[in-house]
C-alpha cells in the first residue's frame, strides 16, 4: 500500500567501537499504559463477568447464519439453470479431461493397454532428464531419488496424481497470475484493490469455500485443482508485482529516454529484470499448492492427501506418516529444482552456464537414455507397473510402534503439562477475554491496539471488531483469539531460544533447519494423530498443532535477524568484557527487534491458519464452527460467518503488529515478508 514509505531496515550498521545501543525508551514505555489498560479491564471484569458474553452453543445458529445458508441453498436449487454454473461446469469438464489424460499417460491404465502409456521407468527417466536440462546433474539425482522413493514406499500412483494436480494448478496460476502481477506491479490503484483480495484468499479457511466449489466445479480432480488454485495463486501475484515494482527507477528512466513504448518497457526491461523474483514467486506458489493436498482430499481430490486422511480415519499415525513424508520429499524436490533452475537461467542470461559442448553432449545423451527407458517401459509390464516393496509398511508400523511407546511412556507427564498450561494460563486469559461482556473486551482490545499501534491500528481494529460482532460469533472469536495469543507466546519462546542458538552456532543451524523445513511442509493431519493420543481432544492439542506449524517460521526469522546483527557491534561489546548472556540480551536481541516483531506477526498468522485444524481435535470455537458448516450444509452459513471472522481476526492482528513495528505493508520475498507468505525452505543463507 504505502510503497513510498521508507523500507524497514535491518539494524543500521554501527561504527566500529561504538557503545552498545541503549534500548529504545519509546518502545519500552508502551508496556506501562498497556498494563494500565489490562488492570482496568480486570477490575471491570470482576464486576461484570458472565454478562453479555454473546456465547452461542456449538450446534446452534442465528438468523443471520440461516440467511447466509439460504444463499448456498439458492445456488444449489438453481444449479440446473444457472448460466454461471454451466460455464464453470464446462471449465470443470476441461480440467477433469486434462487430469484424466495425464493420468493415462503416466499412472492409470490407458485402456485397452493394461498399463499407462509411459511406465514408471520412463516417467522417472523423463523427470530426471528434465531436472538435468533445467538445472544440473545434482538436481537430476535428487529428482531420480525422489521418484524412486514414491514407488518404493508404495505410493507411486498417489504421488504422481498429486504432481499432476499441482502441475496443472501451477500452470493455471502462471497464466492468471503473471498478468495480474504485472498489473499490480505497474499500477498503484490496481495494487490497492487486488492486495486485500489476495489477503482474503490466503486467510479464508478452505473448508468454507469447498462446498461452493463442489457446486460450481464438481467433485474430484476439478475441485482439487480449483481449491488449490485459490490458495496458491496469491504468492505469485504478490511477488511478481513486487519484483516489477522494485526494478530500479534509473534503469527505467534511462531506457525511457530512448523513447520506448509501455510494452517495450514491460517486456524488454521490467519483466527480464524481475525474472529472478518472479521465479521465487513461482516457487512459493508451487509449495503453497502442495500444502493443499490433504484439504483437496476432502472432496475426493486425487493425490497423497487421500492416504493421509485414511490414516486419520483409523487413527493410525504410521499409515499417515509415510505419504505425509513423501509430500515433504516432493516439496524439497520441487523447491530445489525451481531454485536451481532460476539460478541457472540467471547464469545463462549473463553469458555463463559452463561449457556448451559438454552440456550439449549431456543433453543429447540424456535424451537418448530417456527415450530408451520410455520405450522399455512401454514394452515390459515390470517396467510399467512399479514393483511392490514392503518397506513402506515396515516404516509405517515402525512409526506407529514408536509413537505408541512414546505415548505409553510419557502419557502421564504430557497430561500434567497440558493441565498445567491449560489451568494456569489458557483458562485464565480465556476467562478475561471470553467471559467479559462483549463491549468490555471490545473497548479493551481497541485500547490495547491504540497503545501499541497508534491511530491507524485503532481504526483497523475497530472495523474488524465491529465485523466480528456483526457475524454473531463474538464469544467463539474471543476463544479463538485467546488460543492464538497463548500459542504465539509459546511460539515466540521457542523462537527466541532456538533462533538465538542457531544464530550463534552454525552447526546447530545446519542440524535444525531440515527439521524446520519438514515442520513447515508436512501436512498437519500427520502429527495431529500422535498429538491427539498424547493430549486427548482439547484446546491444548490444537495449540500444540499450531505451534508445530508456526514455530519453524518464527525460529527462522529470529535466527536470520540475530545473524544479521553486525559482527563489529558484537566485537565491540566483547572488548568491554560482557558475558554471553549480556551479549544476547543487551546487543543481539535489541538490535534484531524488527525481526522479532516480524516473527511475532508471522507466528500469529501461522497459528491462526491452524484454527480450523484445531476445530477437528476438540478446540471448539471458530475452528469447530467452520468444520461444522462444512459437514452439515444446513449450517453452512455459520461456517461462512466463522470463516469471515477468522479473516477479520487475522487482519486485526496483522495491522496491530505491523503498526507496532512501524513496518510498511510489503510483499517482498526478502526478510521483509508479506502477509502470510510461506517462508522459503532450504539451508541457511
Amino acid at each position: 500500500m504505502t510503497t513510498t514509505a521508507p523500507a524497514p531496515t535491518a539494524p543500521k550498521p554501527v561504527e566500529p567501537g561504538a557503545a552498545p545501543p541503549v534500548p529504545e525508551r519509546q518502545s519500552l514505555s508502551r508496556w506501562i499504559p498497556a498494563a494500565a489498560v489490562v488492570a482496568v479491564w480486570i477490575i471491570v471484569w470482576t464486576l461484570t463477568k458472565g454478562n453479555d458474553t454473546l456465547a452461542l452453543p456449538g450446534t446452534a445458529r442465528t438468523d443471520l447464519h440461516d440467511r447466509l445458508t439460504e444463499f448456498q441453498n439458492d445456488l444449489l436449487a438453481g444449479r440446473a439453470t444457472n448460466p454461471v454454473m454451466q460455464f464453470t461446469n464446462s471449465i470443470a469438464d476441461a480440467l477433469r479431461g486434462a487430469v484424466e489424460w495425464l493420468q493415462k499417460m503416466v499412472v492409470l491404465p490407458s485402456f485397452p493397454r493394461p498399463v499407462p502409456e509411459i511406465g514408471w521407468l520412463g516417467v522417472t527417466a523423463l523427470a530426471t532428464y528434465v531436472g538435468l536440462v533445467v538445472a544440473n546433474w545434482r538436481i537430476a539425482l535428487l529428482v531420480l531419488g525422489s521418484f524412486l522413493s514414491f514407488g518404493v514406499f508404495g505410493y507411486w500412483q498417489d504421488s504422481l496424481d498429486l504432481l499432476i494436480i499441482t502441475g496443472i494448478s501451477v500452470v493455471i496460476a502462471v497464466v492468471i497470475g503473471l498478468p495480474l502481477g504485472v498489473l499490480i506491479g505497474t499500477n498503484k490503484r490496481a495494487n490497492a484493490i487486488v492486495t486485500p483480495v489476495l489477503d482474503f484468499m490466503q486467510t479464508m479457511p478452505t473448508f468454507v469455500y469447498l462446498l461452493p466449489i463442489v457446486l460450481f466445479f464438481g467433485i474430484g480432480p476439478s475441485a482439487a485443482v480449483v481449491s488449490t488454485l485459490i490458495y496458491a495463486l496469491p504468492p505469485l501475484i504478490r511477488i511478481a508485482g513486487f519484483g516489477i515494482r522494485e526494478v530500479s527507477t534509473t534503469t527505467i528512466e534511462a531506457t525511457d529516454s530512448a523513447g520506448q513504448t509501455y510494452w517495450q518497457r514491460l517486456v524488454k526491461v521490467q519483466i527480464p529484470m524481475a525474472r529472478k523474483t518472479i521465479i521465487v514467486g513461482l516457487n512459493q506458489t508451487t509449495l503453497a499448492a502442495l500444502s493443499m493436498a490433504t484439504l483437496a482430499a476432502f472432496v475426493n481430490g486425487p493425490g497423497l492427501g487421500k492416504p493421509v486422511l485414511a490414516g486419520l480415519r483409523i487413527n493410525d499415525v504410521g499409515t499417515a506418516f509415510v505419504p505425509g513424508a513423501l509430500i515433504v520429499v516432493m516439496a524439497i524436490m520441487l523447491d530445489r529444482t525451481t531454485t536451481a533452475a532460476s539460478e541457472r537461467a540467471e547464469k545463462v542470461a549473463r553469458g555463463g552456464g559452463g561449457n556448451v559442448r559438454v552440456r550439449r553432449a549431456m543433453i543429447i545423451g540424456g535424451a537418448v537414455v530417456a527415450l530408451v527407458c520410455i520405450y522399455l517401459s512401454r514394452t515390459y509390464v515390470s517396467l510399467a507397473e512399479f514393483p511392490t516393496y514392503t518397506i513402506g509398511d515396515k516404516v509405517a508400523s515402525g512409526v506407529s510402534d514408536g509413537v505408541d511407546w512414546f505415548t505409553d511412556t510419557f502419557g502421564g507427564a504430557t497430561e500434567w503439562i497440558k493441565d498445567l498450561i491449560t489451568n494456569q494460563f489458557l483458562n485464565r486469559t480465556q476467562a478475561l477475554l471470553a467471559d467479559s461482556p462483549w463491549w468490555l473486551s471490545f473497548i479493551a482490545i481497541a485500547a490495547l491496539a491504540f497503545v501499541f499501534g497508534g491511530v491507524r491500528a485503532l481504526v483497523s481494529t475497530i472495523v474488524c471488531l465491529a465485523g466480528m460482532w456483526y457475524f454473531d460469533l463474538w464469544n467463539d472469536a474471543m476463544k479463538t483469539l485467546n488460543m492464538t495469543l497463548v500459542a504465539t507466546v509459546l511460539v515466540m519462546i521457542l523462537a527466541l531460544v532456538f533462533g538465538v542458538w542457531m544464530a550463534r552456532d552454525r552447526r546447530v543451524d545446519l542440524g535444525i533447519r531440515p527439521l524446520l523445513d519438514a515442520g513447515q511442509t508436512i501436512p498437519p493431519f500427520v502429527y495431529l494423530i500422535p498429538v491427539l493420543a498424547l493430549f486427548g481432544p482439547s484446546r491444548f492439542t490444537a495449540i500444540t498443532a499450531g505451534i508445530v506449524y508456526a514455530a519453524p517460521a518464527a525460529i527462522k526469522l529470529v535466527a536470520d535477524g540475530v545473524k544479521a546483527v553486525s559482527p563489529t557491534t558484537i566485537e565491540a561489546g566483547r572488548s568491554t568484557g560482557q558475558t554471553t548472556w549480556q551479549e544476547i540480551t543487551k546487543v543481539q536481541l535489541p538490535m534484531a527487534k524488527g525481526s522479532l516483531v516480524l516473527a511475532t506477526n508471522q507466528g500469529l498468522l501461522y497459528v491462526l491458519a491452524m484454527t480450523v485444524i484445531g476445530g477437528l481435535v476438540g478446540a471448539g470455537a471458530l475452528g469447530y464452527d467452520v468444520v461444522y458448516g462444512f459437514s452439515r450444509s444446513e449450517a453452512w452459513g455459520k461456517g461462512l460467518a466463522a470463516g469471515i471472522t477468522i479473516v477479520l481476526l487475522g487482519v486485526m492482528l496483522d495491522r496491530i503488529t505491523r503498526a507496532a513495528a512501524d513496518v510498511r505493508r510489503d510483499d517482498g520475498p526478502t526478510t521483509r515478508r508479506a502477509f502470510n507468505i510461506r517462508l522459503p525452505i532450504g539451508p541457511p543463507r
Binding site: A60, L210, V214, N300, G365, L376, G536, L616, R632
Partner: protein, 329 residues
C-alpha cells in the same frame, strides 16, 4: 565426435543388455495383454459400467461400501470409483452423476428435503434399509458401569459430574461430543435436563475412540456420544446411559430436545438417474442387506488389523459366499 560415438555405442550396449535381462526375468509383454483386453471389450455387453460409490468418513461405512463395491467389481465387472466424501457433498453429487450410491445413511431430514422428489429436486431416491440398525446414545466405558452401576441412569449423572471435569470443561463435567457431521442434540439435552455438564466436541470418530480406549485402560471418567454398529465396541464394550426414552417427535425442535436418540434403520440412498439406468449394479445395491455384526467384522479387519479396505471386504466376501449370492439373485 569420437566421444559422442563411443557414448552412443555404450548407451546402445546398456540398453541391449537391459532389454535382455528384463525379458529374461519375464516382465510379460504389454502388447499381448492389450490385445486380450481389446478382445474382452468386444465380447462384453455393456451391463454395469461405472459405479460411483461415496465413501463417508467412518470405518463402518467404509466396510459396507467396499463390500458392495468389491462384489460389483468381481461379479458384475463394474468399474467401481470409490469417492471419499462427507455426507452433504455426496448428496450434492447425485444430481451431477458424480455419485451413484450412499450405502449407509443415518437420516438427514435437511438433505432429504433438498434432494428427494417430494419437496426437493428429486435427484436422490431412498433405496430402503440396508440391514444395519443404528443406535446412538450416551455411553460410558465398561469399568465405570461396573463400579458405579447407577451411572447408567441419567438422573444420577449430576451426582458424578465433578468426576468428569477436565481442564476443558470449565468446572462442569465434560461430555465428549461427536464429529460435527453426525446427528446430535447433546447441548440441548444437557441444558434441558439441567445436567451439570459441558459438551466438548471430539471432532472425529478417531478422536473419540482414542479417548474411550485411554479411559478404559487408565480407569478415567469419560462419558460421550457413541453409537453402534461400531467395530471398537468389540474391543471395549461401551455401556449405554439411559436418557428419558424417545417418543415420536421429541427431537423435532433441536432447541427443546430432552430425550434419548431413536433407533435408526440405516438406509441406502441412490442417485435417481442411476437407479433408473439399466446397470446391473442397481439390483445388487437394491438387494444388499447385512447385519451390525457383519459390518463390525469388516470394520475390525480395516481398523484393528490394518488391512486395506479392499482386502478386508474380499476376506469377508470369501467367508460369506451364501450371503453374497443372495444379493446377486
Amino acid at each position: 565426435m569420437r566421444t559422442a560415438r563411443t557414448r552412443g555405442a555404450r548407451l546402445g550396449a546398456v540398453a541391449a543388455i537391459a532389454t535382455l535381462v528384463l525379458s529374461a526375468c519375464g516382465g510379460g509383454s504389454i502388447d499381448d495383454q492389450t490385445e486380450a483386453n481389446e478382445d474382452a471389450a468386444g465380447d462384453a455387453g455393456g451391463e454395469c459400467g461405472d459405479l460411483n460409490m461415496a465413501v463417508n468418513p467412518w470405518v463402518g461405512y467404509e466396510a459396507s461400501a467396499y463390500v458392495v463395491g468389491e462384489v460389483a467389481k468381481a461379479e458384475l465387472g463394474c468399474t467401481v470409483n470409490y469417492k471419499e466424501l462427507k455426507e452433504d457433498v455426496s448428496w450434492q453429487g447425485f444430481g451431477t452423476g458424480e455419485v451413484d450410491v450412499v450405502i449407509e445413511d443415518w437420516g438427514h431430514p435437511d438433505l432429504e428435503k433438498k434432494f428427494f422428489a417430494e419437496e426437493g429436486d428429486g435427484t436422490a431416491t431412498d433405496f430402503g434399509p440396508q440391514g444395519n440398525v443404528g443406535i446412538i446414545g450416551w455411553f460410558v466405558p465398561p469399568w465405570l458401569a461396573e463400579e458405579h452401576p447407577d451411572i447408567l441412569d441419567w438422573e444420577n449423572l449430576n451426582k458424578y459430574a465433578s468426576e468428569f471435569a477436565t481442564s476443558e470443561s470449565g468446572g462442569k463435567g465434560q461430555f465428549l461430543g461427536a464429529d460435527p457431521s453426525y446427528v446430535q442434540f447433546d447441548e440441548s439435552i444437557v441444558s434441558n435436563l439441567d445436567l451439570d455438564f459441558q459438551v466438548v466436541f471430539s471432532g472425529s470418530e478417531a478422536a473419540s475412540i482414542e479417548a474411550f480406549r485411554k479411559a478404559e485402560e487408565n480407569k478415567e471418567w469419560v462419558i460421550g456420544y457413541w453409537y453402534e454398529p461400531q467395530y471398537f465396541n468389540a474391543e471395549v464394550a461401551m455401556q449405554r446411559v439411559a436418557l428419558p426414552p424417545y417418543t415420536e417427535g421429541c427431537q423435532d425442535d433441536p432447541a427443546t430436545v430432552a430425550c434419548d436418540y431413536p433407533e435408526t434403520e440405516l438406509k441406502k440412498i441412490v442417485g435417481t438417474e442411476w437407479s433408473e439406468s439399466d446397470s446391473t449394479a442397481v439390483a445388487l445395491v437394491q438387494n444388499f442387506t447385512w447385519t451390525n455384526e457383519d459390518q463390525n467384522v469388516v470394520a475390525g479387519y480395516i481398523a484393528a488389523d490394518g488391512m486395506s479396505p479392499e482386502e478386508a471386504a474380499q476376506k469377508w466376501i470369501d467367508e460369506n459366499g451364501d450371503k453374497v449370492d443372495a444379493w446377486l439373485q
